[in-house]
């Protein structure tokens, strides 16, 4: 845990830009390309937006904790809230069905190989996003 960087923000959309700034700096520091950095920034933004919308149902007075951890083999981003628990990440809409919404989950899965909720978390949610560094193709399908 000592090697991770953590940003804690109020659950207000205006702080999403702070999370994006941290995301960009972190990926930059770890030598990811600008294109990779953009994908990851967007995915983390979408995951935090979902916390505000769905877990907190728009309540802007709560907190969101985003932890970045880089190891040789992967980038892990963990997003925690104390909001409404939900059993599983809904799949997002079928992309052929054009309507507002339902894109976020797709954009998260686009940047991360594994998207999973920590079952052990008691109150609120802990979303664990994992992106493998090497052989990314192998992990993608």
């Amino acid at each position: 845990m000592k090697d991770s960087t953590i940003i804690t923000i109020p659950s207000h959309p205006k702080y999403l830009s702070v999370v994006r700034a941290v995301s960009v700096k972190m990926t930059e520091l770890h030598g990811l390309s600008a294109a990779e950095a953009e994908d990851i920034k967007l995915a983390v933004d979408e995951a935090c937006s979902n916390v505000i919308k769905h877990a907190y149902e728009g309540d802007t007075g709560k907190r969101i904790v985003v932890r970045f951890r880089f190891t040789k083999s992967k980038l892990e981003v963990v997003i925690e809230d104390s909001g409404k628990m939900h059993p599983e990440y809904i799949a997002g809409r079928n992309l052929d069905d054009v309507r507002p919404g339902g894109l976020g989950v797709h954009l998260i899965r686009r940047a991360f190989d594994v998207v999973a909720f920590d079952e052990k978390k008691k109150k609120g949610n802990r979303l664990i996003l994992t992106r493998y560094t090497k052989n990314r193709e192998k992990h993608e399908d």
């Binding site: 207000h12 205006k14 999403l16 933004d45 937006s49 054009v98 309507r99 507002p100 919404g101 894109l103």
Partner: protein, 109 residues
């Protein structure tokens, strides 16, 4: 994010600058809703100063597009950067929207 609304060759031109995310999309939605309530035939949105857009921004444009289509209006997105364009393509929205490279081409068809 800043929004400026002006006239361009007799049409409404909305110039946005800054990131469009869940925070700013709200304000953008208000402005575009206000504008389209008067049923203009064409609305141009200049995105040249928009480096970033998330799904809240996309949802806003989908919503406005639907509003305009209902009365036969046309929404044109001008100067969308390549990164955002890629998200539109990924979301299969690039064919739904009129996405125009240059201001000069925006009124050609």
């Amino acid at each position: 994010m800043k929004i400026e609304t002006a006239e361009h060759k007799g049409h409404k031109l909305v110039s946005v600058s800054g990131d469009i995310d869940m925070y700013s999309a709200h304000e953008l939605r208000e402005e575009l809703m206000r504008l389209t309530s008067r049923k203009p035939q064409i609305v141009l949105v200049n995105l040249i100063e928009v480096p970033y857009m998330d799904s809240s921004g996309i949802a806003t444009f989908v919503e406005i597009l639907k509003v305009m289509k209902r009365y036969g209006g046309r929404l044109k997105l001008v100067h969308m950067n390549e990164g955002i364009m890629e998200i539109f393509r990924f979301s299969k929205l690039d064919s739904i929207f009129e996405i125009v490279g240059e201001m000069d081409d925006a009124l050609k068809s």
